[in-house]
Amino acid sequence: MLKGKNALVTGSSRGIGRAIALELAKQGANVAVNYAGSEDKAQAVVEEIENMGVKSFKVKANVADESDVKKMVKEVIGQFGTMDILVNNAGVTKDNLLMRMKPEEFDQVININLKGVFLCTKAVTRQMMKQKAGKIINVSSIVGVSGNPGQANYVAAKAGVIGLTKSTAKELASRNIHVNAVAPGFISTDMTDELTKEQKESMLSMIPLAKLGSAEDVAKTVRFLASDDANYITGQTIHIDGGMVM
């Protein structure tokens, strides 16, 4: 399905990013694994991907840092030759009630979760414009659509990602670059493990399919959007949330 395609997945040493990197590789894509801190975990993902018979390497970069991002993209294009798929997945949370949230906590989450998407997208666009082809998939969140108490910074960033997706989709459509977002709901990962029991219970009660999603559920949707099967789709945000927000 993605044989011969070259992909970069940000924040793919663990969680949803890892599942996306593995899924793209499973479909035949070469995958660059970006990480910020977890080098050992990134290396493990690289080895897992290489065992599938495709190329992979890890690349350290803070997505909120422009020069890091430029270097990373240059390295990926240098190693793979093209840049066919970018998955902007890297993200962090710094949850707190608005009244208690420090401006630095707000900035940090916006910088990584939103500005990071902008920087990575900008960095790959040159190559994709030349190729006259490209798939960019941004990992937003269902709370970016619905809002969530205690996550003003995260929600603002994730809602921003949806807007950024639409603008980028419109700007780049004429160059055959497709830009879409996925909005995962309650997915079982390290990040959701940190939520309180009350938060979890209240979310489960709102899910029509009455269960958590898996990172693989998200990865399979991303794989679809990254493939030629999704060639008439751009600027969309696909909810992967068991029907939680319709």
Partner: protein, 78 residues
């Protein structure tokens, strides 16, 4: 200058698919050569490759006519 102009002209003709006669120093990309904003960005990318240079965003934004591009490139070539 003339040599730079010829190389720039060649790229413009290819990139924007316009007739050679239309590419004069005074020609505005948007008004005379029917380029949209993204076309100009793309053109600047091609010029960067052709002349093996980097044109900063601030400089690129000032390029509105063929002459702007030729003069800027000429000023950087030693």
């Amino acid at each position: 200058m003339a040599e730079v102009f010829d190389r720039v002209k060649k790229i413009i003709v290819e990139q924007l698919d316009v007739e050679e006669e239309k590419v004069t120093m005074e020609a505005s990309f948007k008004d005379d050569l029917e380029a949209d904003s993204l076309d100009v960005v793309e053109l600047v990318m091609e010029l960067e490759d052709e002349f093996d240079m980097e044109i900063a965003d601030e400089e690129a934004e000032k390029i509105n006519t063929v002459g702007d591009a030729v003069n800027y490139i000429d000023s950087t070539q030693s």
